[in-house]
Amino acid sequence: MTDSAIVGIAELPQGKMPGVTPMGLHSTLARMALADAGLHARDVDAIITLSPRSDPYLIHATALAEFMGIAPPVALTVEGGGAAPAVMTDMARMMIAGGRAKTVLVVSADMPLSVVSRNAYVNTLADAGPVHPDIERPYGPSVPSLFGICARAYMDQYGATDEDLAAAAMHDRRHAMAHPNAHMRQPMTLESYRATQMIADPLRLLDCTPVSDGGAAVVVTSQERARDLRQPLVKVLGAGFCAARLHLSAAASLTDSGAGPSLRDALAQAGRAAADIDLALVYDCFTIALLMNIEALGLAPPGGAGAAFRAGEFNADGRLPLNIHGGLLSHGYPGRAAGISNLVEAVVQLRGQAGDRQLKRVETTLTHGMGGVFATHGTLLLGKG
């Protein structure tokens, strides 16, 4: 299982993409990622997509293949929530290891901002998102209120304050301001954070992600073949998953995100230790999600993530650079495709292609994704060849 590599990536500036269609975006990203790898569309023998909320099809991956004029024997559309990037990449590895495919194209994109209206998208999330349709929906919970319930419990348990939440938001924003593809790039201060309206106490507007058009594409093949391609080798070292339940009503804890076992299993598969990780990209659909996921992954002590942000531990020059692309909170939240940017940033850094943002030392990266309200987790470890 240690024999696959990410050989092509593509990402466009996240945000509003007027005049672009969802299928056009998928196709553009796919061709960019293949060109990045030095491969052709006809080389693709497996394609994996998500079903974008903005453009559903019976089998989205097959519709994309048709749109691109290719006919790969395998075309799968997966449902994995925010853990999908890890799910899709791991499926690609297994198909390559098992001989089912040689070149797997993964495309994850959505256009909730330009194609669906922002409000319609938020309404859809409340109806078809993480809210239980039987026992939760009658009480009118918005998605921010479900995370707000967790945030209140976290603040109560650890004595945390809005300064801890703000520290996560400001960290992501500061780093997004330096990233050419990031959606939200206006400066944020504690004052400007506090000046935004309360959405679902204790969460304010800037505790929530924006809604963005965007996504990315990734090409996966064998490491053997990758050595003959044009980009520096980036290996997929390990993957780990965990899921305890889907709905918040079934949660055993409101303050443990539950992400820990996904990293434990990924490290075991990769034969690496947590101390080897020198860049972490952690799923952050809300500020509270970032704090809780960091702690569950063991990257900060319980209740200590906010202080770690304030101390600069997660800055590009800190103890463990984290979300240096701006995270979902500021890099952008492209609906169903949320989280794929974590993978792209890891590859760019491992290749040494981040320009002014390039970290000095990157050998092993952690990319984490989460589905639902702390429901499912997928963690990938990538490494320099």
Binding site: I135, S142, S249, L254
Partner: protein, 135 residues
């Protein structure tokens, strides 16, 4: 003034819960062999497969955590913000998501004692358990 809620889905596993609420009872699904509550309801116990029985609870509980929805997203809630969505732990030990009603949203606190109340829905056969702060 109690709001008339949109009816919950009346043809799924939770139906006995909503029907009991219309009759003024808080019924929750219980597995007798395992001696455990089962929420969200799964029809049969996920551990031993025994059919669940519905037991009436006292209706007393406490607020485990809560949020105040300032910006409602579902159309029927638009005119009711701000309102409180909370995780309630019943005295019997089972947790459920509900509303805390008939008080200022800011009056709700962590750990506050609550008592069940029942609201009508647009389906005359189905009610909705909600909670009020105890004096």
């Amino acid at each position: 003034m109690a709001m008339i809620h949109s009816a919950p889905r009346g043809n799924r596993e939770a139906r006995p819960h909503w029907v009991a609420a219309r009759e003024g009872r808080l019924a929750m699904p219980f597995c007798q062999p395992c001696n455990t509550w089962n929420w969200p309801p799964a029809g049969a116990c996920p551990h031993c497969g025994t059919a669940l029985t519905w037991r009436d609870c006292s209706g007393e509980g406490r607020v485990v955590s809560f949020s105040i929805v300032r910006r409602a997203v579902q159309p029927e809630w638009k005119d009711h913000a701000p309102y409180v969505v909370a995780i309630i732990e019943l005295a019997e030990g089972v947790r459920l998501l509900s509303n805390v009603v008939d008080c200022a949203a800011e009056a709700v606190t962590m750990g506050a004692a609550v008592q069940v109340a029942f609201h009508e829905t647009t389906d005359p056969e189905l009610g909705l358990p909600v909670f009020r702060l105890k004096d």
